[in-house]
Amino acid sequence: MVVKNKSGQIALNIIFTLLTIAAVAPFLLLVSSSFTDEATLVRDGYSFLPGKFSLDAYIYLFQSSMKIVKGYGITILVTLIGTVLSVLFTTLFAYPLSRKEFPFRYFFSFFVFFTMLFNGGLVPSYMMWTQTFHIKNTLWALIFPGLLMNGFYIIMMRSFFNANIPDALVEAARIDGCGEYGILWKIVLPLSKPMMATISLMVGLGYWNDWMNSLYYITDEKLFSIQAILNTIISNIQFLQSSQGSSVASGAAADLPSVGIRMAIAVIGILPILVIYPFFQKYFVKGIVVGGVKG
């Protein structure tokens, strides 16, 4: 149902133009600051247009700071391993739940559903991961806690299988002597590509953006992801402000990257998302629409 009169359309377009500006302008402030000459930045502050254009922050980041390159490596590695494992575990778990011949499917569906209603929270999880599984300062700490499986995605995948995989097809494959793993691999997966893409993107985004696991479990700088590096800078700024003038503070100040470089790190952290996003927008929207309302 569209508004037919012209002035109505113009008004709507103006409103939406304002909304889109509101959505992206803050990013512009970030990006523009990262391209501004340091002295100008200190004098004039952050602004939407670089007063004096400069690439110094980026040149510095990639030439003299291995930290950022390594952080990027960690982020990419964790995102890849995490996403692959997550999609694998989720698919393998969801498929039996969708089979009517599987006698325990109601029990296990409830088993998943219950994790969405009730959880132990930070304190017991933290104790368990650190004291029972000793994952502090290991790569696993960035992959396992919390992010690997999500009840929503399992239910989403199960519903997709239920609605899109014809029973007759599975039955026919069975008669042809195809095993369950074979059916999943040769029949179910090729029919489920859009759902796999959607879940991979959502999970991948979760891993890319994750800073909490680093905050909880990582103190070793070698394992700092991009988000963890950004995080450390915040705590150094905070530390400086709370202990101004002391001798410890000057040490932290020396560690603190200049104003422009800080913003450049943040830009580098979001760049891959912003570059990839427009091409996969369809799948993100699908994930929101399917996952947001009842699974």
């Binding site: 569209v2 508004v3 109505g8 359309q9 709507l12 939406f16 909304l19 959505a23 992206v24 803050p26 990013f27 402030l29 952050y46 939407f48 694998l88 575990f89 778990f93 498929y95 039996p96 011949e101 325990f104 559903f113 209603l117 959880n119 132990g120 929270g121 930070l122 304190v123 017991p124 933290y126 104790m127 368990m128 004291q131 599984f133 919390g146 690997l148 499986m149 369950e180 793993y181 890319w208 953006n209 994750d210 800073w211 988000q227 950004l230 995080n231 915040i234 905070q238 709370s242 943040a266 952290g269 998302i273 912003l274 996003y277 927008q281 993100f284 929101i288 629409v289 309302v293 009842k294």
Partner: protein
């Protein structure tokens, strides 16, 4: 003949059992993960009733009854964090859903495929960014020395504002940031329902002489009712939870304004990692988990009574 069917029946039974086993084997990795990641911490919640001892671990520590809870409620903190958590959530739910429904309805009135798609794509961008990066963006606006807002205020001859040390600004900042980050997401969710509304309903309304506004009130909003109820219900079920990043990172962990920034999640985190106050942290965490659970059940029960179709379960 009978013997043959008995044999094939047995065979079929065996094949069935084998299939069940194979299907079960598929679930094993996920099952182990959910048991460890989700179910073990549920049992671990019992730590709230123990006096935690590092060397003894959760199971070896001594029971201490409700003393962690009485200790928690002796201080002003308990009331403060519950008030903040619930209060912010209420505002977020109300404002977030009103804005999202409005945007979804307007998006539907818009003509032209291309601009629709562009608007949808762009308003979702803030949703894709981590809260740490958001805190950098907010800092670019609010930094005392070089923040955009303070420079703007100065250029108009005003006094610089120390945003990160004054509590009174933060309720507004949180609401703005939350709305900015989330409105695209929920707008698109509602929009998916809006485009699903049968267009003959609008035509019928037009024939009855309904103007644009009346169509929204009598066709679009009733069509959205189910989705709105589901969304609000989900949010109410999470009333005792807060976005840790929003309340911890965005204010740059400033201690001076903790009276308005400390939600349950922030309090639990600080107690666990910085203040070595595991007793109160675990008591607050326990209340969060249990109250959250009861709230989902209650909210769902009420909706079931009113309108069964929209209940979650």
């Amino acid at each position: 003949m009978a013997a043959v069917t008995a044999v094939s029946g047995k065979k079929r039974k065996r094949a069935r059992r084998k299939m069940t086993l194979v299907l079960f084997s598929m679930m094993l990795p996920g099952l182990v993960y959910l048991l460890i990641n989700n179910y073990m911490p549920m049992v671990g919640l019992l730590i709230a009733f123990k006096k935690y001892n590092y060397s003894a671990g959760i199971w070896g520590s001594e029971w201490c009854g409700f003393s962690n809870f009485t200790y928690l409620f002796k201080t002003q903190d308990a009331i403060n964090i519950v008030r903040n958590t619930i209060g912010y959530n209420l505002v977020f739910i109300l404002l977030g859903n009103v804005v999202a429904v409005a945007v979804a309805v307007m998006l539907n009135f818009l003509r032209g495929k291309m601009n629709k798609k562009i608007y949808q794509t762009v308003i979702l961008i803030p949703f894709l960014i981590s809260m740490v990066v958001v805190s950098y963006i907010v800092y670019a606006f609010l930094s005392q020395e070089s923040g955009f807002l303070n420079k703007l205020i100065e250029s108009f001859g005003g006094e610089k504002i120390s945003w990160y040390t004054q509590a009174k600004y933060w309720p507004f900042i949180f609401v703005i940031v939350n709305l900015w980050k989330g409105f695209g997401y929920s707008s698109i969710l509602y929009y998916a329902t809006v485009i699903g509304i049968d267009s003959s309903l609008y035509e019928a309304a037009t024939v009855d002489g309904a103007n644009r506004w009346k169509q929204v009130v009598h066709v679009t909003l009733p069509g959205l009712k189910g989705t709105i109820i589901t969304m609000v219900l989900l949010a109410i079920g999470r009333m005792f939870y807060s976005d840790f990043g929003l309340f911890y990172q965005v204010p740059m962990r400033s201690g001076l304004i903790s009276s308005v920034t400390d939600t349950i999640d922030v309090f639990v985190y600080k107690g666990l990692t910085q203040l070595n106050d595991i007793g109160r942290a675990s008591a607050a965490g326990f209340l969060q988990s249990v109250m959250g659970f009861l709230l989902v059940l209650t909210a769902n029960y009420i909706v079931r009574k009113i309108d069964e179709e929209n209940a979650l379960f």
